[in-house]
Amino acid sequence: MIKAGQIDKGMCLLFRADPYLVAEREFVNPGKGAAFVRLKLKNLKTGQVLRETMKTQEQVEDIHVDDYPFQYLFADGDSYHFMNTENYEQIEIPMAGDEEKQNYLKEGETYDIVLWDETPIDIKIPYKMVFVVTEAEDAVRGDTVTGATKTVKVETGLQVKVPIFINQGDKILVNTESNEYVERVNT
């Protein structure tokens, strides 16, 4: 247990029986009142965001979470299936609320999974990832406007806006937060 005044951004808390990540924290001292901390908490199971105000003297339960590498196997409609690369143990992570993660999960690729007491609560998607373009229309001949783009599909189904010189089979680096094309990869 810690005092709410010790909460920092990036910490994890157990609040109303659910694990939360502290996304924002601000101290407020009303001129004539006790000290408070205003929090923005992200539920690590559902992704739901919660705003909470606590007195800094209040006790809260901080929890320890750890990242472990797991290999992504497949999704079955309800869950993502991963395998611990050291002991081959398999885990399932519910897709509910996290469906868009599918766009970044490549079979056979290793991802960091956030575990709390052996319960997987989050899949960490690398900030930038390489994808193979699986569907792309040919550039329209004569369309040489600088900065012209087209939309392609990569192997996970994700759609990305790319410059018109990108072809099917090319490898591209994508920013996974903004879904923006970064560059073509030549390996």
Binding site: G5, G31, K32, A35, F36, E52, K55, E58
Partner: protein, 328 residues
């Protein structure tokens, strides 16, 4: 960059001086040290000591405290017949976080007008903001000031009606029904009140103009006079850009009420990290000699932050404590 900031601070200082001098307030300059303070349970202070160069070592040192506001000294001046006064004072509050809207050492504009009440001072504050916000694009600072009573604000922003009729239990229940987490905050009326204020009301206040929350519950202990025949204290707080900027009272002069305040706050102060003696002689001053007056306290650094479009006090305080400590 540094030069720019120095200029801005100096300009704002002289604008404020001109404003109050024109209104025939006298500028004063009171000590930063005091052997005793007004007991205010939520405020932690800085303690230090005076060493008598000729004293025996065994005698120990005289405890002194850095003022959390110049009130103890300014009220003494008023009692001695100073007339209306103002000051830009360095104030010190311990055990506060460092960052966006707090720095343990900060500059406060404190003013007292004699023969005036809190609503007169709201006019003064509005005039002051009109003057200071000229040429500024910060809408949150530009009058007219939107006036709303605390009771209206609780109804509108927290869904809690009839604040006047709610005691500790009533307010606690109403807060819980509104979905506010009060589990560990239920020690006193003012705890519940402030939790709701911080959780629901403050974040919902309009930020495109200054807002004055008027008439606080008298059950929140302060040295503000009670509004006759009502459960309210003659107090307002002005928010600009969502930040608490000015606090103002009609100053309490009733002996019994001043004494009560000192007693309850001294009791609650027993949990303080830095205990200090209560300034008991001030009770006598306030009950016997303090003229009818109203005082306002404005966070100078917060004002400059808003005027210059900065996001944090760290952008307007020359040497913020966070930076000082990082250099060590």
């Amino acid at each position: 960059m540094m030069r720019e900031l120095l200029k801005k601070r100096a300009e704002l200082t002289s604008l404020i001086r001109d404003f109050f001098v024109e209104k025939e307030f006298l500028e004063v300059d009171t000590p930063s040290l005091s052997p005793a303070l007004i007991p205010e349970a939520p405020i932690e202070v800085f303690g230090t000591s005076y060493i008598d160069p000729y004293g025996e070592e065994s005698e120990g040192a005289q405890e002194l405290f850095l003022i959390p506001s110049p009130e103890v000294w300014m009220k003494r001046l008023l009692s001695e017949g100073s007339g209306s006064i103002f000051q830009l004072a360095h104030c010190f509050r311990n055990a506060e976080s460092l960052g966006r809207i707090h720095n343990p050492e900060f500059t406060m504009l404190e003013w007292y007008e004699v023969d005036a009440d809190y609503l007169d001072e709201l006019e003064v504050a509005e005039e002051l903001l009109t003057r200071l916000s000229q040429g500024s694009e910060t809408k949150g600072l530009c009058p007219p000031v939107h006036r709303i009573t605390v009771e209206q604000a609780f109804a509108e922003y927290a869904g809690i009606e009839n604040l006047a009729g709610l005691d500790f239990n009533g307010l606690f229940e109403a807060g819980r029904r509104a979905g506010i987490n009060l589990s560990a905050s239920a020690e006193s009326y003012e705890d519940v009140f402030h939790t709701i204020l911080v959780d629901r009301v403050e974040p919902a206040l309009p930020v495109d103009r200054p807002v004055a929350l008027i008439d606080y519950p008298d059950a929140v202990p302060t040295l503000a006079q009670r509004k006759t025949g009502t459960p309210w204290a003659e107090r307002w707080e002005l928010y600009a850009g969502g930040v608490e900027l000015i606090n103002c009272y009609t100053e309490e002069r009733n002996r019994e009420r001043v004494q009560n305040f000192f007693e309850t706050e001294t009791k609650r102060k027993t949990r303080a990290r830095v205990p200090h003696p209560p300034d008991l002689p001030l009770i006598e001053e306030m009950a016997e000699r303090l003229p009818v007056c109203s005082g306002g306290a404005l966070g100078f650094d917060r004002l400059l932050m808003l005027l210059s479009g900065q996001k944090s006090l760290e952008g307007v305080i020359l040497f913020p404590l966070s930076a000082i400590l990082n250099q060590q």
